[in-house]
Symmetry: C2
Subunit: 222 residues, 2 copies
């Protein structure tokens, strides 16, 4: 009963999202309405609608009469995002521990096994994708669509930046171990532990650092 024919603006939005996620469009890049229209062989109208949608989801920034650019996230802002994301993902994990049904729990085990495979093969791209599946499984496991949507949205907004996070040597193994711990807690119906572990997994830095950054005046860091 949802929409039958996706509108062109929707297709454009998806295409541009892909460009951003894949890194073909980097933060700060200008989004010229005319060139986009030409590139996809449509008029400016659906392009504008797509840009508005992307703007609303925070992926790009549109300033009246000045055009659109891929959102540039300042460091303090990025820290804020991680702080919120840690809380939201922790909440997902807590609810998932209480609410996931047997089928979902089985699926979760499989997802972790997949992650393990990519870790052994040292396949960074593969692990990156499997990691996304893992987190999605827990979002959905919360059985709270509003929460899942909000968390996913934040996850996407930070995607262009989080990409670099796994490059640190040994981070994949660490990440995998943390995944396993979270899953164990969920399977053991230990909601508090699942929440705690997930928060630590996402918010690697720690609150103290966050407190410091977030009280800095505007403009102290780019």
């Amino acid at each position: 009963m949802p929409r039958r024919t996706p509108t062109r603006a929707d297709q454009l939005r998806r295409a541009l999202e892909e460009d951003i996620f894949a890194g073909r469009l980097k933060p700060g890049d200008r989004l010229d309405e005319q060139s986009i229209a030409q590139r996809f062989d449509v008029s400016r109208t659906p392009v504008r609608e797509a840009l508005r949608q992307l703007s609303a989801s925070g992926l790009i920034e549109v300033r009246p009469r000045q055009g659109a650019v891929v959102a540039v996230i300042t460091l303090p802002r990025l820290v804020e995002m991680f702080e919120v994301m840690a809380e939201l993902e922790a909440m997902c994990a807590r609810l998932a521990a209480r609410r996931m049904n047997p089928a979902e729990r089985e699926a979760l085990k499989r997802v972790v096994r997949d992650c393990e495979g990519f870790e052994k093969k040292i396949d960074l791209e593969g692990y990156y994708a499997a990691n996304k599946v893992f987190h999605d499984a827990i979002y959905d496991g919360s059985h709270n669509e509003v929460l899942a949507d909000m968390t996913r949205s934040l996850h996407r907004r930070t995607a262009p930046y989080r990409r670099h996070q796994l490059n640190r040597p040994g981070r994949i193994s660490e990440s995998l171990a943390e995944h396993k711990a979270v899953v164990d807690a969920i399977l053991a119906y230990d909601a508090d532990e699942a929440s705690r572990l997930m928060a630590r997994h996402v918010n690697v830095q720690g609150d103290v650092f966050t407190d410091f950054i977030s009280t800095l005046p505007q403009g102290y860091v780019a």
Copy 2:
């Protein structure tokens, strides 16, 4: 450095938001592009843009080729929203207790005094507005704009429904007492207590929540 001249689409968005918040547009009401365009004496183009923005923020729902209606939130969805909002507002309160500066703490005291005034006068509309100011102060007090924006957004989406919440006799006094308790905890730098109290304040539990649900007009929930 923000925008200089607000675009017409922006003005329309704000006007329509007002209509929704004030109850002139109720959940389920159809938003016809032509009539809106005529009413504001503009073409359909800016109207469409405004509708897209509202759709992205969740206030209205646009289905391709089928027009837009003010978002109708189902009962389970509404429960989900309250669940998330309790968590987000609690987080705001926790951070506010740690991060609010002296000026903000003073302002917070004043806001509560304002609430008290409206309670004594039994001014429902006035208290409703003061209540919003109170919550906004705590959102901003978190010193986390991302969190503040997300919480505000959820607050707005539930606004058309929460409006009826204060009608219950005695609810205002209860609400005010809860406000005071939260503020006391914040002023005492007791982050955990502030968080706990705020969560209880927002997530009207048990009987109270049931009461709230049952006072909704017909057709508000599917």
